[in-house]
């Protein structure tokens, strides 16, 4: 029997050094900050840093580097930096403040994050994340972020999935919004101060690499169509995740992989692309017209109980008519210790399992009912409707608006949806990619969440990277600058510009028959079916073939109307979908090569007797960092080269995860 993976990739040299300093884990960050070279304040203004993306990771980095006196150029495709998709994060942000005196500590946050990530994250980076978490809360409070408070005026906390302490700070169901507005205001302050130059409605379409170093970007002004070259001494990608490769996800419509994918094509390794998070509490798909899925914050699992009918014949009934004894609170039954607060990957997979058994509720989508109940009636009885409303009213309202059902009267229906991508560009301890001078922060990098991210940790990571980590590590690189001047006569610059211009020209002249959206939708179907919540070797192999076919057709047959020299949303989408069509293949190859289950990556061939994810630490305790190969021709990718970074667990013992 030939192996289905044969010929799809080749093995390259392992990654030996992640640049973390030696020594005890709680001294490494202090050590690194001390060893990293300093840049004299008067020299900082001679150094330019480009930051792509203005979410938590980008806006915080922009503000902080601006305050330090560097020249920052900040880019976002939205009309204002305040709109980046971090804004949609609902539940909260973790920090090891131990304000509840419930046994929390930096070490416990570190431990929970490594365990939650199913032992596929890098210890050194995760420890640092936990270490700086408390400073984030201080910084945000000082900026005026209106976190929830207790009557005594102190900050309130709540608990989140996968942990047994209350360390989540929140601002009702709008924590991401409030944190982002804080970072945005700090960024705007620097724009006013002249240290940051803002380029809204601009999209990075290519990375400029000169003499092996990242030296700038090619961007398109989305209003005028002008193709611009921006030069810098270092480039930071804070451009978010790639969940939209699935078309339907909780990401914003514009969230895309283009910035990181173009950097990958220029030599930046892509880490663990198959680690995608399917969030358990989203509003189920209603029909073919659907353009996105909406998350219901995981915080709802603190008070809501998840169930499906025990009997298949009850699934069509009004849930209020189903007596208590005929309900299966399956998470509480299977995981008595954590109950409804198990990590996201587990909650999602169990929802899929009960629906596969035919016990799902709500409308039939495809061949099955795809939904489970999230029921608050017990909480209404325990703390009263008013108290529930104080915590979740905006979420209840949103649910009602979208579905037409009132969760105060009937239980919510939820189903898992693609939400977050743990994979991203590979970075070392300094958050530097394999291209010198190219740094990657937030969801765009791969570094902290392993194979599954815990709730309220994305906001923590974005702000940790942007406020505290990157500003300290990037100076070590910038200390060698300013780097020699380059301009449009530099061959690499000319070539990058030409590439962008050719691509735009191609899309506008191919004059095919199918819309960009129709390709995106079809790609999403392929990814969800073959590389979704459960993956098999055969399914992935089929998926790869289908993606290749679709990609070839896209380049021949897409229809983009209008011109370059105007706001042209089809043209913007065409570039993004083109890159998703390449990324999708890499995700499937990564998923196919990893013949184990871990976190959000569930291979049907690798499960325990009771259906839990079964890791194979002897074979797969490594980060898969993929190198792009190929001629560079659009739409064509070669067999990628796999570089393994072995995950060494010096401080935490590798265990099979248990939440029972």
């Amino acid at each position: 029997m030939t192996d289905l993976i044969d010929g799809l990739y080749s093995l390259g040299d392992p990654i030996q050094d992640t640049k973390a300093p030696a020594g005890p884990i709680d001294k490494k960050w202090t050590q690194r900050k001390f060893e990293a070279k300093l840049v004299n304040p008067t020299n900082r203004r001679k150094l330019t840093v480009i930051i792509v993306g203005t979410g938590l990771a980008g806006a915080s980095a922009g503000a902080t580097l601006g305050e330090a006196g560097y020249r920052v150029k900040s880019f976002c495709f939205q009309d204002s930096p305040r709109r980046a998709h971090s804004i949609a994060a609902q539940g909260g942000i973790n920090a090891a403040k131990n304000y509840k005196e419930d046994g929390d500590s930096t070490y416990r946050l570190f431990y929970d994050t490594v365990k939650g990530g199913d032992y596929r994250a890098r210890e050194t980076n995760v420890y640092r994340l936990a270490e700086v978490s408390a400073s984030i809360i201080d910084q945000c409070v000082a900026q005026g972020v209106p976190f929830a408070r207790e009557y005594g005026g102190l900050l309130d906390n709540r608990s989140f999935g996968g942990v047994q302490v209350s360390r989540t700070f929140y601002a009702r169901g709008q924590t991401g919004q409030q944190l982002l507005i804080g970072a945005y205001q700090a960024l705007e302050r620097q724009i006013a101060a002249g240290t940051v130059e803002m380029f809204s409605r601009h999209e990075m379409l290519e990375l400029v690499v000169v003499d092996g170093k990242a030296r700038g970007i090619i961007a398109r002004d989305l209003v005028t169509g002008e193709i611009q070259t921006h030069y810098a001494d270092a480039v930071v990608l804070a451009s978010g995740g790639y969940g939209n490769v699935f078309y339907l996800s909780t990401n914003a419509m514009g969230s895309n992989v283009t910035a990181t994918w173009r950097a990958h094509r220029k030599g930046a390794y892509f880490g663990n692309p198959c680690y995608t998070q399917i969030h358990p509490t989203c509003i189920p798909v209603a029909g073919e017209h659907q353009s996105k899925l909406t998350l219901m914050s995981e915080s709802l699992r603190n008070d809501g109980r998840i169930w499906v009918p025990k009997k298949v014949e009850d699934c069509e009934k009004n849930p209020n008519d189903i007596p208590e004894e005929d309900r299966d609170y399956y998470l509480e039954r299977i995981y008595p210790a954590f109950g409804n607060l198990v990590p996201r990957d587990i909650a999602s997979r169990q929802a899929k399992n009960v629906c596969d058994e035919g016990r799902g509720v709500g409308p039939v989508v495809g061949d099955k009912r795809r939904g489970v109940y999230l029921d608050f009636s017990e909480a209404f009885g325990r703390i009263g409707k008013e108290a529930v409303a104080a915590k979740y009213d905006n979420l209840f309202e949103m649910y009602k608006r979208i579905t037409g059902d009132d969760p105060y009267e009937v239980p919510m229906r939820i189903y898992p949806a693609v939400h977050y991508t743990m994979g991203g560009l590979w970075v070392d301890y300094d958050l530097q990619s394999t291209i010198p001078g190219l740094f990657v922060t937030g969801e765009a990098n791969f570094s902290d969440h392993g194979a599954n991210r815990l709730g309220a940790s994305a906001l923590m990571q974005g702000l940790a990277d942007g406020y505290f980590v990157l500003p300290n590590t990037i100076r070590d690189y910038l200390a060698a600058g300013p780097f020699p001047d380059i301009d449009e006569s530099t061959p690499e610059v000319r070539q990058a510009r030409q590439q962008v211009a050719d691509r735009v020209h191609h899309f506008l002249t191919v004059q095919g028959t199918r819309s960009v959206d129709s390709y995106h939708k079809e790609l999403g179907h392929i990814m969800w079916e073959h590389c979704g919540m459960e993956r098999t070797a055969e399914g992935l192999r089929t998926g790869i073939d289908k993606i290749r076919e679709l990609r070839a057709d896209f380049w021949r047959n897409v229809r983009v109307l209008g011109e370059n020299e105007q706001l042209n949303q089809s043209l913007e989408k065409a570039g993004r979908v083109a890159d998703f069509l390449e990324l999708g293949e890499l995700i499937c190859i990564d998923a196919l090569h990893r013949r184990e289950s871990c976190g959000g990556h569930f291979r049907a061939e690798s499960q325990t007797e009771d259906g839990e994810a079964l890791r194979h630490d002897d074979e797969y305790a490594y980060v898969a960092a993929w190198e792009f190969t190929g001629t560079g021709a659009e739409g064509q990718i070669g067999a990628p080269v796999l570089h393994k970074e072995d995950l060494v667990y010096e401080f935490i013992e590798l265990k099979q995860r248990s939440y029972k």
């Binding site: 503000a63 305050e67 939205q78 204002s80 809360i137 201080d138 409070v141 000082a142 809204s200």
Partner: protein, 247 residues
Amino acid sequence: MNLTLKIWRQAGPDAKGELVTYQVQDISPDMSFLEMLDVLNERLNDEGREPIAFDSDCREGICGMCGLMISGEAHGPEKATTCQLHMRTFTDGDVITVEPWRADPFPVVRDLVVDRGAFDRIIQAGGFISVNTGAAPEAHSSLVPMEHAMRAFQAAECIGCGACVAACPNASAMLFLGAKVTHLGELPQGQPERWGRVVAMLNQHDLEGFGGCQNLGECSYACPKGIPQDVISTLNHDLRKAMAKGR
């Protein structure tokens, strides 16, 4: 359901615009308003006609990117952003007019897309608390009484969509301005810059060409986040106090 749409089309900032009529068929009540426009755009693309440009991003009512005048109402008949407006609000045979935000400080970029850069510049003028990264004291070193925390939060819910401006006959941005002044002014951290902030932000507001407030209340009525009109009272209060202090 079947609907008649009259949609504002304008090729560019300096081009002449007009309302163009489109018919849409078989619209599901479960669709959002923007998904209905997606369906229309797919059809236009198939017919070789350029799709209608409109802004949207998160499509869950929080990023503030979307915003349309729907039959004369900012964000349409529901108290929600345009992306959260669902077609079950309409009935078969309805005629719906769709226009961009109408306000001089928000020039049209194309079709239904406007430039709201003026809001960013108002924030630049003073809509922040000056604290450099790393300089913050311990979070529990200042307490915030519940009533201040609640009011600050309520004002901080503003998503900067611009519906308040679009709804105001004077194209005033006082609700946007008042929300930020209230958010930061309610908190102990916001006190040191409180009086300078209100003056600087108001000056920028006027410079951008936004009009004055006549207390009509259209802004608060149109606001998808329910920012109360009394933030404008707070704004006026702070402004008087700032002037008394010689700002």
